[in-house]
Every structure is written in C-alpha cells, then in structure tokens.
Amino acid sequence: MDPTRIPLFDLAEKRLTWTAQRQGVLAGNIANANTPGYRAKDLQSFASLLSGGGAIAPAQTQPGHLSGTIPSGVASVSKDPPQALSLDGNGVALDQQLTKVADTETTQSLVTQIWKAYVGMFNTALGRPS
C-alpha cells in the first residue's frame, strides 16, 4: 500500500515536513536571540505553501531557460518585520518565538493523532486488532 496515494496521508506528510522545517527556523531564531543585528525569520504559512504561492523557482530571463527541478514542497523562509529592535539591532522577541514553537508543536501533535486514527480505521477494515 502506498500511503501517499491517499490524499489525507499525503497532506499529513506535507504538514509534518512543514512543522519540522518550521521548528528548525524557530530554533535558529531563539539560538540567535542575543546575536547583534540578527532578525527573526519564519517559514511561509502552510496554507500559502499548499496553494503554491511563494515557492522557490529559478528566474527565467531567456525563453530557452529550463524551469528547474526544485521540488514543489519546499517552503520559503522570510524575515519577520521586527516588532522592536534592541540596541544591538537584534529583532528576536523571545516570548513571540516561544509561542510559535508551542503552536508548531501542537500542530504536529494534531497531525500525528489524525494519522494514528486513520491507521486505526484501516486496521479495523482489515480485521486486525488496533
């Protein structure tokens, strides 16, 4: 059984990849909370990634240029507009970043729960004890 053929599993996989990537970006922000001149970054939202907006693509300046082979599931990273800069030019607000971390974690928990519920349904249909 190829789980990616089923739309829900495909979606869940994309979302899990997105949460893992976002967690990495947020960890970078928090690690650099005291680095002079550092600005907080964030991953593009999952909704805009799904609708195909903001995906990275090579620029085509000539009609003969190839469109490239970058996979469509890569989310782009953008800099957050800073709320307040400290004296050394750092724009990371720790509380804000930690809220985002908690948010990402909750999302990931939700997705894994849904995944498990679906696998349980398949098990029931196949007559296995779940």
Binding site: L16, T17, T19, A20, Q21, Q23, G24, V25, L26, A27, G28, N29, I30, A31, N32, A33, N34, T35, P36, Y38, K41, L94, Q97, L98, V101, A102, T104, E105, Q108, S109, T112, W115, K116, V119
Partner: protein, 137 residues
Amino acid sequence: MAGDLSQTMSVSASGMEAQTVRLRVIAQNIANQDTTGTTPGADPYRRKTVTFETTLDKAVGADTVSVKNVGVDNSDLPQRYDPANPAADAKGYVKLPNVNTFLEVMDMREAERSYSANLSVMQATRSMANRTIEMLK
C-alpha cells in the same frame, strides 16, 4: 524528516553552548571585581565582554550561533585613594577593575533566560520526534 528535527536539536544546543560561555565570562568578571595589580601603578583586571555571531552550519543547513570573540571592556578604570595598597601609584591612588556588579547580574539573568528558552525548544523538538516515532505503533 527526523533529520530535520535532530538538526533543530543541534541548533538549540549551539545556543545553549554560547550562553554557557557567556555565563562563564560573567562569573569571571564577578569573581575578579576586586582584583587590582600587584606592582605600583599596575592595571587591574579589566571587564571581559562576549560577542555572538550567526554562523550558517553547512552540515546542518541552519543558523547556528557561536561566540565571535571574548573582548575587553576599555572603559575608564575607577580610582581609589589607598596609599597602603601594593598597587598604589606615586600619588597613592589605586586603579580598580571596571566591573559593575549590577550590570553583570543583569547580564547573567539575560543569559539564564536565553538558555532556558533554548532548552524549551529542545524539549518541544524532542517530544515532536517522539510523536513521529510513535506513528509506527
């Protein structure tokens, strides 16, 4: 994908490491707040400062943090009239370290706060990895 999460852990670890270096320098400053020179007119201990920088870890592919350098605070040294001190100059003045305890304690609080923020991220990442593994069950 689990690779992403373990990379996240090493980013947080780099943050914790940098804050530990900072805390060590703060401890040095506070411990040496009364260290004067030993010969007449000699310079006392000067406050040390830590600067961080972002490094793009190629293996990890993320913004880790590292200590750029440990510098010296070149601000003016306070002086005190104490002719009996071995470090007193011809006029009887002793140069004292430019360590401000209040500043150091404030800095210590900030280092502590950043450290625990990194730790929280690490804990969150670990439970995310655990949940990913539990999907197999």
